[in-house]
Symmetry: C2
Subunit: 203 residues, 2 copies
Amino acid sequence: MASPPARPALRARYDRRQEEVVEKAAHMFARRGYDGTTVSDLAEEIGIAAGGLYHYFGSKEQLLIRICDQLMEPLLAEARELRESDGAPGEQLRDLVRLWVTHVVAHRDHMLVFQQERHVIERGPQWRAVRASRKAFERLVEDALEEAADRLALPDRRLALSALLGMVNHTAQWYRPRGRLTPADVADGYVDLLLDPPTHDPR
Amino acid sequence: MASPPARPALRARYDRRQEEVVEKAAHMFARRGYDGTTVSDLAEEIGIAAGGLYHYFGSKEQLLIRICDQLMEPLLAEARELRESDGAPGEQLRDLVRLWVTHVVAHRDHMLVFQQERHVIERGPQWRAVRASRKAFERLVEDALEEAADRLALPDRRLALSALLGMVNHTAQWYRPRGRLTPADVADGYVDLLLDPPTHDPR
DNA sequence: CAGAGTACCGAACGGTCATTCGAACTCCGA
DNA sequence: TCGGAGTTCGAATGACCGTTCGGTACTCTG
């Protein structure tokens, strides 16, 4: 991998191209799998020779790391921001899940890759940052659940957390943008499952 | 791949060995990924030379197919049996989810492989049977949800189905047999989330 | 114990793939 | 228009891996 160009005018183009590679790679990895996609396949999709890709990335694995980073880092940042904002503590859970589902849906390919390559992510020191991001985010969700504990439909909070993680992550596998549900609809559905029905409802 | 031995006395040993290969393969595939596990790795784990494995399996992919088949076929069969049994129609959902979670937990490695290699399963005619099993099973779950529709906490049944699929499948990723929750506990938790609280409860 | 059927070995093969690298080309800045 | 930084090509490389196959040792059967 070459270092990025020093001249600012060229730097922009370089960054744009690099971004294109990440995006196309995420799409192909999601469809055919990481190992099922050769560097040549990817290069052909971009429109350059295989060797040319290494101008933008040091290795195939670094590309994969970048995909996962781009997924987790902004999500974590936004979630932290939300957490520090004021707002009814009980309603933070709903906002968090909305943010989360929206993110998953907006980066479906990244998410599918992230899930499919779990075994790679779990091993190796080069994945430490990605693992830390995921852990930190899950911790935020856990805290939000804790704050809504008195309204939780499930006595076991660990189980509630696992259930929520399962539901939201699985969303990447079935959600279609042109469907009838918005990401917020989906998120609200999940939260409604987790929380007891409002008490002001007389039967 | 050689044909199985004709002599019955040897057939038993052959079958046992084959089963051992499937089990060990599922375990390694779950941990290191399908592509991350070489045939030599697997052979070493079994304790024979790489070539020797081909005595029991035609190819690495056939082995993967077998793993997925062994996961889905018994599950589908048991689910169908349950469905045809008598029992309160409303309670079939709970029994089905219990059966399902128990199965997922008992075959965690198979399940993890099944999820991780989704992109392979979706392609190619040799995977048709596996895809059909999964589809049929999901259909059974859908029907059970339908029957419990009047007690569902979520108006949107498709969303409820997706949520349930997400929760249960995700269970393979966190459940530990030595934990404090039994599979039935977990299953009941999921069902409790999906169903409205019982109406006979006076506040 | 003989010999057929069975299990496994171990070396080799063919193919694929990530990665490297020097040359060639493009295009910006002066 | 020129020089050089930046970009891409294309061929080569080296490693790895799934699979094959002929031979060997083992085991059950009669």
